[in-house]
């Protein structure tokens, strides 16, 4: 059996969150307007059936293999490993997925579910544009109408991705309310869904939102952890000692962590975006600075003001620039199963450069937050330790920001 064909439900995990109400411990739920309750109930019902349906599984795996390009390699980063001189560092190469990031694992799964449910109109929200591109891509492939909501500010910052989506046939709608970024795009997508609930499928891009989304999106990314487990066993004959992943909403992180939650000997570290510093107001470090609250349909840690208004997040990485985090991460934080640490803009940008020069891999700035943690982690390790980083995306989309940061010009203008 290849790693791709191994499916989560055949495994015996004792960790079995969420419960039937969609709670991961204290976090999760469905805090949505009444109009969406029938839609979420329908989605939950349909997903439950599809998940165990052989035809659905086969079809999903087929597209992951033939279209996305899975399995992605587990690459030993030789010069980075040599640079630190302590443990062995591997990259799980989600950057090699079609469209350049892990996001498409999820959109393939959700779009197949949408078609199964007979929905012809697809909507999505996007911040950096990666989820928007991954959604527009699968809609083009399967011939579905695609509407992507994107904050006006993000459209300016990520012009290249806007044009990619347009080229793929998506209708990219500029969101001018609130802070004009990802959280506002998400509000607009939810409003669209509330208005067109009968014929519309909302493809959420991270492990956020109301139940069953955080569970479903996780399951669609679970393939990352399953492959990592099998590949590490094949190459090293054992599990890794450490797994590192960046966390915005947290989809790539949960994708690689989930398989290992029961394996207590594997240390899991989630890196959140500290922006200009976790102690400053220009940060997206939800666990360092947030408190539990409700946004976009679930109860989770949240950056908020002293009046309970949603605070504006800041990160140089548009994909991590979100004031919330997936409810399952909040549970893993409270139970201390995952160690969440803040990484600043500066540390992440240094890691972009280091990784590019030493490995010939230009990582997404999101991903670079995880790579940056090697500076802290590696000096504490011994030669035999195995570290896996989820290399969640490539940095092509970030060249504008990177050019401006290192060379003082914006490559896009």
């Amino acid at each position: 059996m290849s790693t791709l064909e191994k499916s989560p439900e055949t495994d015996n995990l004792t960790y079995n969150f969420p419960n039937s109400s969609g709670y991961f411990g204290k976090f999760g739920g469905k805090f949505v307007p009444e109009i969406l309750i029938p839609a979420l109930d329908e989605l939950e019902r349909e997903y439950k059936v599809a998940k165990d349906d052989e035809q659905f599984k086969k079809e999903r795996l087929h597209h992951l293999r033939e279209y996305v390009g899975r399995p992605t390699p587990l690459t030993l980063t030789e010069r980075l490993t040599e640079h630190y001189g302590t443990g062995k560092i591997y990259f799980k190469r989600e950057d090699l997925c079609h469209t350049g990031a892990h996001k498409i694992n999820n959109t393939i799964g959700q779009v197949l579910l949408a078609m199964r449910m007979g929905k012809k109109r697809i909507i999505a929200e996007t911040g950096a544009g990666q989820h928007g591109v991954a959604t527009a891509t699968v809609c083009a492939k399967f011939g579905l109408e695609c509407i992507v909501y994107m904050g006006e500010e993000d459209m300016r910052r990520q012009k290249l991705n806007v044009d990619r989506m347009r080229l793929l046939g998506a209708d990219v709608r500029s969101v001018t309310s609130g802070s004009r970024t990802l959280k506002d795009a998400t509000n607009e997508a939810i409003r669209d869904w509330v208005t067109n609930v009968d014929d519309t499928f909302y493809i959420i891009g991270s492990v956020v939102g109301p139940h069953p989304y955080p569970m479903m999106v996780r399951d669609f990314h679970d393939v990352i952890g399953l492959e990592t487990e099998a590949q590490c066993l094949e190459i090293e004959g054992r599990d890794p000692d450490y797994i590192l992943a960046c966390v915005g909403g947290g989809s790539n992180a949960i994708g690689i962590f989930h398989r290992f939650i029961d394996k207590k000997h594997v240390k899991l570290i989630g890196l959140e975006a500290a922006g200009e510093g976790a102690e400053t107001n220009k940060t997206a470090a939800t666990f360092s600075k947030g408190q539990p609250g409700v946004l976009h349909g679930s109860l989770s840690y949240l950056l908020q003001t002293h009046q309970g208004q949603i605070a504006l997040a800041h990160s140089i990485s548009a994909g991590l620039d979100y004031p919330g985090v997936g409810p399952e991460h909040s549970h893993l934080f409270d139970t201390k199963r995952v160690d969440y640490r803040p990484v600043t803009d500066t540390e992440a940008m240094d890691a972009v450069k280091r990784c590019s020069m030493l490995e010939g891999i230009i990582p997404a700035i999101e991903t670079a937050h995880a790579i940056a943690w090697l500076e802290t982690l590696m000096p504490t390790l011994t030669k035999d330790d195995i570290v896996v980083i989820n290399c969640s995306g490539r940095g092509d989309k970030d060249m504008g920001t990177i050019s401006e940061y290192f060379y003082g010009t914006n490559g896009q203008s």
Binding site: P38, R191, T195, V197, G293, G308, Q309
Partner: protein, 278 residues
Amino acid sequence: MSTAAAVSIKAASERMKRVFEERVESAKIMNLFITAGFPRKEDTVELILGYEKNGADIIELGMPFSDPLADGPTIQYSSEKSIEAGFVMDDIFDIVAQVRKRSQIPIVLMGYINPVIHYGLEKFFAKGQEAGIDGLILPDVPVEESGLIQQASQSHNIPLIYLVAPNSTDERMKLVDQRSGGFVYCVSVTGVTGARKGDEVDESVKRFIERINKNITNNPVLIGFGIASHTDAMRISEKADGFVVGSALINNIRSLDGDAEWKEKHFRFVRELKFGSA
């Protein structure tokens, strides 16, 4: 967060009961929504008293939130303005306490759960009771998630008012009826709040209301979303106890921006919503 727990029917406040008991068959109950602190903090008390004088039977006082995802652009705008001007949750209780010195009109609070959690559930309900609040509408807290607030709601006698929508099943309507106290809020169309053109509020609303009347038997029914004129209101609420207007009021205030007599003109608009133009 189980929905199975048996819950007794929530008692409406005396103020709320009186409104529906005294209603004559031909008159509709008019519930008017206003965002606290809009257009300015000092206007809210005067607007509430003026609404009462000009035909409002119930006031729905909006607690501004940065991310009101069940609302359209109009209410998001008024909320942003109020937050920018320094709105804090304590203002809500001050406003209600001031109104209570001069009026016994029922006041229900409408807002989102996050600022309420942040304020502290127990403190929120205790202050609400002290100030004289008659109900609470939280559009992002469906019955499933009410476990969080149910106890505080009961111990402070502030009933929760839930919404039903055209796509709610009969069972769902019955559940909402059982859990609500004061009235049930019927969302006339699938969508967010906001004024709509008359013909958008179509015939299917009538069939929806027939289902409502069959399933909701413990509480009066108010219908809202999309009502912008007296004609809309009469047509939509023909078979209901009354109607709710929100975004149309905010739009009217915005259209009168800079007019020295905006309040009088705005109150005339309110009178016409209730009674039609003279």
